[in-house]
C-alpha cells in the first residue's frame, strides 16, 4: 500500500481528513498526520506581531542617521582604502630613499669639492621689520587669550582679541590708527610692523579710523576678502556667509578673489556667494540725543578730558600731535546743523573747533549701522529656485564638513525665506534633515526632535 505524501498529509491536516479513506487503514500515515497537525498547531499559536514601539523606531532611526553620517563623511576619503596600501608604502619609501640620496650627494659633493670659505651666511628673520605693539585704548568685556583686557595694556603681534556680548574694545595701532571691535566680535592682530599692519576679523565687526599714510599698508582681512585703507574711516563686518564693508569717509580698496574695487565714502558693499555687490548709499548715522556742549561755556579741552566725557564706546581721543587723528575725530559743533540734522555731511577738518568725539563713531552706532546694512542686503535665500538649491547644497556641505553651527545658521536662514513651492518640498526636506542632523550632533536634542516632527509632518 502506497503511503500518502507529506504534501497530501499537510493539506489533509489543513482541510480535514474526512475525504481520505487511506487513513483508516494506515497507522503510519495517521501518525504522520498527527505530527503535522501538531506542527501546524505550533504555527497557529505563533504570536501576532504588535506594532513596532515608537521609541524603538526612533532609536533605530537615530542610529541609522549616525551610520549615514559616518558613511557620508567617509565618502570624502573613500579613495584611500581603494588604493593599495603597498602603493603608499612604496611611494613613501621612494621619497625617503630619494631624499637620502640627495642628502648623500650633497654631503659627498661638499667633501670632494670644498668651496672657498666666504663670510658666514646671514640668517634672515621671517620679516626684517621690527615688531611693534598696539595698546588698548578702552575695553569693556573684552579679552585676549581668555584674559580680560585693561586700558593701556600692550598688545603684541599675534594677539587674538575678542569681545563678549555687550562688550567693546578700542585698540590704538602703532601708526595712530584705531580699531574698534563691536560686541561679540573676534579679531587677531596678525601683523604689527612699521610698514605693514594687518588685522584679521574672525567674526563680528571692526571699525577703523585710519590716517592715510603712503609709507605703510593697513589691511583688514575677513576670510578671502581684504580691505586696504586709502585713508579713511570704515568698518568691516563678518557673519556667516557674507562680509560687509562700509566706508564712512575717504576710500578703501576691497580685494576679493579675481576682483579689486575701490569703495568710497558713503558706499557699502557686501561680499557673498563669491560676488561683491554694492548696497544702498549710506545715510549718516543719527547722533545720540545728548545736550550739545556750548562753545562759549566750554573752553578748549585736552584730549584726556574729552576721553572722559565721551561715550564709553567712543573711540579713544587722538594724540594731540597727531593731525591725522584729529581728522578722524571730526567734531560736532554746538548748535550746528550737523548736530541737529543728521543728513548734513561731516564737517571738514579745517572747521574744527573742539575735539569732541564724533557721535557716529561710537561702537553702538556702528552696530546699528551694520544692522541697517544687513537689512539692505538682499538675502541670497530669497532668490530664485536654483540659487536656493545651491544654498541648500552649501548647508549639506557645511554639515558634512562638520561645521554644524554654520550649517544650522544657513538652514535657519534658508527656512526663514522658504515659501514652499511644490518643487521646493524635496529641498526643504533635505535642509530640515541637515538641520536635524547638526542639532543632534551638537547635542541640541529637543530642537532636533522638533525638526524631526516637522519632517514627519511633511508629505
Amino acid at each position: 500500500m502506497k503511503h500518502l505524501s507529506h504534501e497530501q498529509l499537510w493539506q489533509l491536516a489543513l482541510n480535514g481528513t474526512a475525504a481520505e479513506p487511506h487513513l483508516d487503514a494506515c497507522l503510519t500515515c495517521l501518525s504522520a498526520l498527527d505530527d503535522i497537525k501538531a506542527a501546524q498547531g505550533v504555527l497557529r499559536a505563533m504570536p501576532e506581531p504588535p506594532p513596532m514601539p515608537a521609541a524603538m523606531a526612533r532609536r533605530v532611526e537615530v542610529k541609522l542617521l549616525d551610520v549615514l553620517e559616518a558613511r557620508q563623511a567617509k565618502a570624502w576619503t573613500s579613495w584611500f582604502p581603494s588604493m593599495p596600501r603597498f602603493a603608499f608604502a612604496a611611494i613613501a619609501m621612494a621619497v625617503l630613499v630619494g631624499g637620502a640620496w640627495v642628502l648623500a650627494q650633497q654631503t659627498k659633493g661638499d667633501e670632494v669639492l670644498p668651496v672657498a670659505l666666504g663670510p658666514p651666511p646671514v640668517v634672515m628673520p621671517a620679516s626684517a621689520e621690527p615688531k611693534l605693539t598696539a595698546t588698548v585704548a578702552s575695553a569693556k568685556n573684552a579679552r585676549s587669550s581668555n584674559a580680560a583686557l585693561k586700558t593701556t595694556q600692550v598688545l603684541r603681534e599675534g594677539s587674538s582679541l575678542s569681545t563678549d556680548k555687550g562688550g567693546s574694545l578700542w585698540v590704538r595701532l602703532p601708526d595712530g590708527s584705531r580699531a574698534g571691535l563691536t560686541a561679540a566680535s573676534e579679531m587677531k592682530l596678525h601683523t604689527l610692523e612699521e610698514k605693514t599692519l594687518t588685522l584679521e576679523l574672525a567674526k563680528g565687526s571692526v571699525a577703523l579710523v585710519v590716517p592715510h599714510r603712503e609709507d605703510r599698508l593697513l589691511t583688514v582681512r575677513a576670510g578671502e576678502l581684504e580691505v586696504r585703507d586709502l585713508g579713511t574711516q570704515f568698518l568691516v563686518s563678518r557673519e556667516v556667509g557674507r562680509i560687509v564693508v562700509a566706508v564712512e569717509e575717504g576710500s578703501v580698496e576691497v580685494r576679493v578673489p579675481g576682483l579689486t574695487r575701490t569703495v568710497r565714502a558713503g558706499q557699502a558693499v557686501a561680499y557673498q556667494q563669491g560676488q561683491l555687490d554694492e548696497l544702498e548709499p549710506l545715510r549718516p548715522v543719527p547722533p545720540k540725543v545728548r545736550p550739545p556742549p556750548r562753545i562759549e561755556e566750554q573752553p578748549a579741552v585736552t584730549a584726556q578730558v574729552v576721553a572722559e566725557a565721551a561715550d564709553d564706546e567712543s573711540p579713544p581721543p587722538p594724540e594731540v600731535d597727531d593731525p591725522a587723528a584729529e581728522w578722524a575725530q571730526a567734531p560736532v559743533i554746538a548748535n550746528s546743523p550737523a548736530a541737529e540734522n543728521a543728513n548734513v555731511p561731516p564737517m571738514p577738518p579745517n572747521e574744527m573747533v573742539t575735539a569732541t568725539p564724533r557721535p557716529g563713531l561710537s561702537l553702538g552706532a556702528i552696530e546699528r549701522r551694520v544692522n541697517d546694512l544687513r537689512r539692505q542686503i538682499r538675502s541670497p535665500f530669497t532668490q530664485g529656485g536654483s540659487l536656493r538649491q545651491q544654498r541648500a547644497r552649501d548647508i549639506g556641505r557645511a554639515a558634512d564638513a562638520g561645521d554644524c553651527l554654520r550649517a544650522v545658521d544657513l538652514a535657519n536662514e534658508w527656512l526663514r525665506y522658504a515659501h514652499d513651492p511644490p518643487e521646493e518640498i524635496g529641498v526643504r526636506r533635505e535642509v530640515l534633515f541637515q538641520k536635524m542632523r547638526c542639532l543632534r550632533r551638537m547635542g541640541r536634542v529637543p530642537e532636533a526632535d522638533l525638526v524631526r516632527r516637522e519632517l514627519e509632518a511633511m508629505p
Partner: protein
Amino acid sequence: MTALLTSGHMHSDLALIDSAAVDPLRALALQARAGESVAFTKLYERTREQAWRVLYRVVGHSPDLEDLVQEAYLQLMKALKAYRGDSKVTTFLHRVCVNVGLMHLRSKRRRPEDPTDALPEGETSEAASPERAAQVKQAALLVQQALTMMSDEKAQVFAYHDLLGLKPEEISELVDAPVNTVRSRLNRARADFTVAVTKLKGRGP
C-alpha cells in the same frame, strides 16, 4: 502586505522613472541608492513596520529585535547599491529581514542560553492570559529552534510561506528560483519542520 509596488522587469531608464513615479517606495529607494540620506530615512519610516513584523515572526519577542531591525536596514543600505529599480522594494526588505533573522537564530543557537534573553511578558500583546502567554512563548521557541535545524534554503522558503504568508510566486522572486522549485522546496521544508517540532516536543525518536 502592502501591495504598493508594480511588478515586472523594466530595464530602461524611462521605465524606471515611470515606475518610480507610480511607486513612491521605489522612487525613495532609487534616491537612497543615489546617496540621499533623507530618502533613506523616509524609506525607513515607511517600511519599518513591515521589517519589524517580519523579524518578529522569525525571531519572536526578543530584546534583540531593535538591533536586528537596525541591522536589516544597514544590510538594505548595502543591498540598494545593486538595486536597479526593477523589483519591489519590499522584496529586498523581506529577503534582508529573513536573512538577518535566521542568521540571528543560528548565532543564538551557537552561544549559551542567556537567562535575560527575553522581554518581560507584560510587553507582549498575547500576555492577557498566563496560559496563552506560555503557549505563545512555547510556540515561538519551537518555531525558532526548528528553523535553526533546517537548511538555509528550506528555512527561508518556510519562513516566507508559513510565517509571512507569501505566495510561491512571490517567493520565487525572493529566492530567485522557479515557482515549482519553490513548491518542492517548501514541501521538504515542511517535512523537516514537522520532524523538528516532533523531536523538540519529545515525541520523536
